[in-house]
Point group: C2
């Protein structure tokens, strides 16, 4: 049966920006490309556009599919959310998904040619911040003729970008949906990122970040990085329910092959990711996560940092998320309320840990749908 709620077959587009971009680090990127997709139709008033920002390993392919022969296998990462009659309803909204700068899915990143050398940037690609991503997304907004987004939204690192939009250009985002996110990483969050980075950077196939030139890939390091990341995306309860101590062969075999099914699952996730993602992009994204801290310039005072914001906010967290626990969303909500802003907050019961934001748990999708319906176009 055909899924009439899907946005259907979609294709990415590319926008080229020739003006240099000055980054927060002080480095300058001499022009860049962003790959993006759109779903639905921009209305005449240009008031119905929603920007969806992706998380650590996401990209511009948010909804619909790329291959009609394999609609499910090539579906966007938030396809359950975006479509006809779905919470982010494409009958009503014009939705834009974009691959961030530094990415590995078509936007300018470490794999792109460095015009200064004619070789891939590799380790010479500058480090980026959430602020830089938003600045690049702003160029895309201009190009698309979108002066003001009806909403900017995202989960996890995507939620940080949504929050940053309300600070960088308060007039250009009427609403921000900040889901399963945090106002900054904790020491433990940074620690896990650092393990991932060390795994990649200590892989002999990394070649100081210039592995493309050597025809190499730091596959082992990227696999390890994903394995440790994956543990933090799932809840302990969900792992217990899904895998527990289930044995691959019904008994202990006393070797280093898969004994417990959880080992097989993790190895598989690591291998899949190592085949599909770029290690330099992963490094850049974990650093962007580490650096994000809007309160830093305000002596740690988050309420002061958010004083510029004017958007309406939807903030959501998930009970079993231990990467960005509900308390981290409370910090955002309290700081917004201290500034007298309109905030809707939903704390969703869901067993799936941090990855809950990708699922279509009824309570969660109902809360999102209700908030998005309330946005005046």
């Amino acid at each position: 049966m055909r899924d009439t709620s899907s946005v259907g077959l979609v294709a990415p587009q590319t926008a080229r920006f020739d003006d240099a971009l000055v980054l927060k680090s002080g480095d300058v990127l001499p022009g860049f490309e962003l790959v993006y997709e759109t779903y639905g139709t921009l209305n005449a008033a240009r008031s119905n556009a929603v920007l969806v920002c992706h998380a650590l390993s996401g990209n511009h392919h948010v909804a619909g599919f790329h291959d009609p022969a394999h609609p499910q296998k090539t579906a966007g990462w938030w396809d359950n959310l975006v479509g006809v009659g779905k919470p982010l309803d494409t009958d009503r909204f014009f939705v834009v998904g974009v691959n961030n700068l530094g990415g590995c899915h078509g936007s300018t990143g470490p794999r792109s040619l460095n015009p200064a050398t004619g070789k891939p940037y590799g380790a010479d690609f500058p480090l980026l911040t959430v602020e830089d991503w938003v600045a690049a997304q702003m160029r895309l907004s201009d190009r698309l003729g979108i002066a003001t987004w009806a909403a900017v939204m995202g989960g996890s690192l995507g939620g940080m970008q949504a929050l940053q939009w309300t600070l960088a250009c308060p007039e250009r985002a009427r609403h921000a949906l900040v889901i399963a996110s945090a106002p900054k990483l904790s020491a433990q969050n940074i620690a896990f990122n650092e393990v991932a980075r060390q795994a990649i950077r200590s892989d002999p196939e990394f070649y100081g970040g210039h592995y493309y030139e050597h025809g190499a890939t730091p596959r082992r390091g990227l696999k390890l990085a994903r394995m440790v990341g994956h543990i933090t995306y799932l809840s302990g309860d969900q792992m217990a329910e899904k895998f527990g101590r289930q044995l691959r062969h019904g008994q202990h075999r006393f070797n280093y092959e898969v004994e417990f099914e959880i080992e097989s699952y993790l190895r598989h996730q690591g291998d899949k990711f190592a085949d599909a993602f770029d290690a330099n992009t992963y490094l850049i994204a974990t650093k962007a996560l580490d650096y994000f801290d809007p309160a830093f310039a305000y002596g740690g005072n988050l309420a002061a940092a958010l004083a510029r914001a004017k958007a309406g906010f939807f903030v959501a967290s998930f009970t079993t998320d231990w990467r960005f626990a509900p308390e981290r969303s409370h910090e955002i909500v309290h700081a917004l309320l201290q500034n007298g802003l309109n905030v809707s907050y939903a704390e969703i019961e869901c067993a799936a840990g941090h990855d809950s934001f990708l699922l279509d748990t009824p309570h969660y999708h109902q809360a999102l749908a209700a908030y998005l319906k309330g946005i005046v176009l």
Copy 2:
């Protein structure tokens, strides 16, 4: 000022066992050596002996020091617990610390010569279980003339050995002190172990476990394994308090050197460990952790598995331990109580996470001292 409560300068001893040991895996170890230390004096009735079992990265050097010029630097890992007037009082008890089979501190392990080949065992050293460790410790008990231990105790993996003693030979351990432990690993626990193992085994310097012969060390892998392990030993709160987002240089430098102090700390812990520990021993110990599950043979019924136990039990957990959370100790306590056994349970408030069992938090040491004082000699 001289520490009069220290057991002072100590030296390890070695016991050689020539009879083969049949392991749980079915493999046979043709004789082996155990390195151990003792503190205090065995009484005439031989009724005052306490066996201290070590955790993942521990060894036989429990108390006292090895170098009079550096008493603190060469102190045993549980020196705050064992000594004159300390909770495990050496005026009263005869304390034995032993390096487990498969270890890298003197007992027979992967670095030892395989009599069959004349080369180091390396990857050919058999996989071990907590049951095997207790079986080897039993040989040492015989050698020392200790028919019955007044108590067997340990933290974490050491607590599992204490529990196993009460099952393997219920008549030979009058008390068991099971601290910061669990009746079996969760899927998440196994997942973290698997990341550590993959880090070591995918290191090109691992050579399939035969790195000694190549004059190599899988240093990178062992460092990563320790880094990820270390995150699970500390609580998130403690990391936040100790490091937070403290910057090494006061500002962001936008490179892959240390930005946040937590990165420096983790790298240092990883390096220190990689210099001091053996990767094959680490692999064996994580597998022993994974396999431990006394209820496995009883269809998952822990109470049935513990029905053989006759010891008195002291069980303790720590509020911020998320590796083996208090709930995991509750499982042990409930199963013991279902068998009508005497159980003292202490849930200690301590910010230090899993590693709390190594500290001398007053409430914790008071509870230990009270229990140990109550043991009739």
